[in-house]
């Protein structure tokens, strides 16, 4: 019953599978992002209050959504690696971190660019911006801890514990920051989304969220592939792949 699972967790098999998988994820992602961006930038009508400036949500919202989802994925795969001692899960966890940090960074930058015309300032201590910034620090801490260990095995387990501790703490951080901000400023500025979004604005957004998610999974498959190859560098199959004589390297 579980053989498919164990076969999936075997590095050579996963390496070959992830190579195919990344194309099957990235090509639809590219198509969808083109459709979604066309819909968002051209077809959707300008907002009656924000004009064309609202269109940044087609990049901002998917990035912000993924910045959090990737952290959860990182912690969950770290936990799987810790509990069932699956090395592949640790490789997934390690590969998530730079992607998640990039999405967090993208969400912060697009938020700042949107904030300048809308709020009149690039940065405001808005609860969402602030907790997003703290999330970026959590990603940096995770990557810093990983790189501090020489032994991959130790780095895997230590960073998994940190990711789990972080994921328990993220909701507490978020709600404390929301509560903190509510003492300081009125809620007018913290409305990041258009209150009730109309259908012709919504479908490009949903398309882009799906596209970004597929893009994340495709990039993740590629990164995990590299990570697995690096970790299994001394094994026979990895050497075969690197010499180009393995069936796994055919694609």
């Amino acid at each position: 019953m579980w053989t498919w699972f164990f076969r999936l967790a075997s590095p050579p098999h996963f390496y070959a599978l992830a190579g195919k998988l990344s194309y099957w994820l990235l090509i639809p992602a590219l198509v969808l992002v083109l459709i979604g961006t066309w819909g968002g930038l051209v077809l959707a009508p300008p907002d009656y209050q924000q004009g064309d400036a609202f269109r940044i949500i087609y990049v901002h919202v998917p990035s912000a959504y993924l910045s959090m989802m990737v952290y959860v994925a990182m912690a969950v795969s770290g936990a799987i690696g810790l509990i069932w001692r699956i090395k592949l899960a640790h490789a997934v966890s390690a590969s998530c971190a730079p992607i998640g940090a990039s999405f967090t960074f993208a969400a912060l930058i697009t938020g700042a660019v949107w904030g300048k015309p809308m709020w009149g300032t690039y940065w405001d201590w808005d609860p969402r911006l602030t907790s997003e910034l703290i999330l970026l620090f959590l990603y940096f801490g995770y990557m810093g801890l990983r790189s501090a260990f020489e032994d991959v095995n130790q780095a895997d387990r230590a960073s998994a514990i940190l990711a789990i501790a972080g994921v328990v703490n993220v909701p507490i951080i978020h709600y404390s920051v929301v509560w903190w901000a509510s003492l300081h400023q009125g809620p007018t500025l913290s409305k990041l989304e258009v209150p009730s979004i109309s259908g012709d604005m919504l479908w490009p957004l949903l398309t882009n969220i799906l596209a970004f998610t597929l893009f994340f999974l495709g990039i993740l498959a590629m990164r995990v592939r590299g990570e697995v190859l690096e970790r299994e560098f001394h094994s026979r199959w990895a050497q075969d792949v690197l010499r180009g004589i393995s069936p796994a390297s055919a694609n």
Partner: protein
């Protein structure tokens, strides 16, 4: 060989059953007492973090404007940040020497829950480094012209919050115990996790300062402390097992 293994394990467990068994409270007390004694004998380490706390609080009026009304408004934030920084600075002492002299390996081999012993160590560490900060905070707050009714809330919020800071820090200390020169990394790992405590503690004092009821954030500080006491030892024990490898 394989067939003998369960027998050997059985013999081991019988030997354990014959050995004097320490109750969990006695175990806690033993570890706690040992760490407290060591901490008090190395009193310069403990006093350094307290002195650092005073120093940071002293620097703010020099860099900002020493007018009474400005100092009064920034006092809760400054004192809480100083307490957080003092905790961060003291954390590297928590497990480092025990890992180096092999004490932690002995604790790992004991048939007792590791997290429980680490909790005892962390609480001893808080008594040595956190209590001085809590005691000094009201005195420093007077120099910031904080009114008397806010002093009690400030002290109480620190009393509830600094153990949480030490507990959260113990995860980071356990993760980096085996690493050389991990001081900055340790601070970077745990400081984001400490944000809620900082917010709640400083806001509680703020509310008291403006004459409002600080009960809400104080309750939340207590809740976070209870959550930390119950969850952190598990994470810290896992982290120590990694570091001791």
């Amino acid at each position: 060989m394989k067939a003998d293994a369960p027998v050997a394990a059985l013999a081991d467990s019988e030997a354990l059953a014959d050995a004097p068994v320490l109750g969990l409270l006695a175990l806690f007390w033993a570890v706690f007492q040992r760490d407290l004694r060591i901490g008090l004998r190395r009193w310069t380490d403990a006093s350094n973090s307290a002195l650092f706390f005073i120093l940071v609080v002293t620097l703010f009026p020099l860099a900002l404007n020493p007018r009474a009304e400005i100092l009064r408004t920034i006092a809760p934030g400054v004192i809480w940040i100083a307490a957080l920084l003092a905790t961060l600075l003291s954390l590297h002492l928590l497990f480092r020497s025990d890992l180096e002299d092999g004490t932690l390996e002995h604790l790992l081999t004991l048939p007792y829950p590791l997290g429980w012993m680490l909790l005892a160590k962390t609480i001893a560490h808080w008594i040595i480094t956190g209590i001085p900060v809590v005691l000094m905070a009201p005195i420093l707050a007077i120099t910031y012209h904080l009114p008397a009714e806010a002093l009690g809330v400030l002290t109480f919020s620190l009393l509830l919050g600094t153990p949480t800071l030490s507990l959260l820090g113990s995860i980071g200390a356990a993760l980096t115990a085996g690493l050389r020169g991990a001081g900055v990394l340790l601070a970077f790992l745990v400081a984001p996790l400490m944000v809620p405590v900082l917010i709640l503690g400083a806001r509680a004092t703020d509310l008291a300062l403006s004459g409002e009821d600080p009960a809400g954030p104080l309750y939340l500080l207590g809740a976070v402390l209870v959550l930390a006491v119950s969850l952190v030892p598990v994470a810290a024990a896992g982290a120590i097992r990694v570091s001791a490898d």
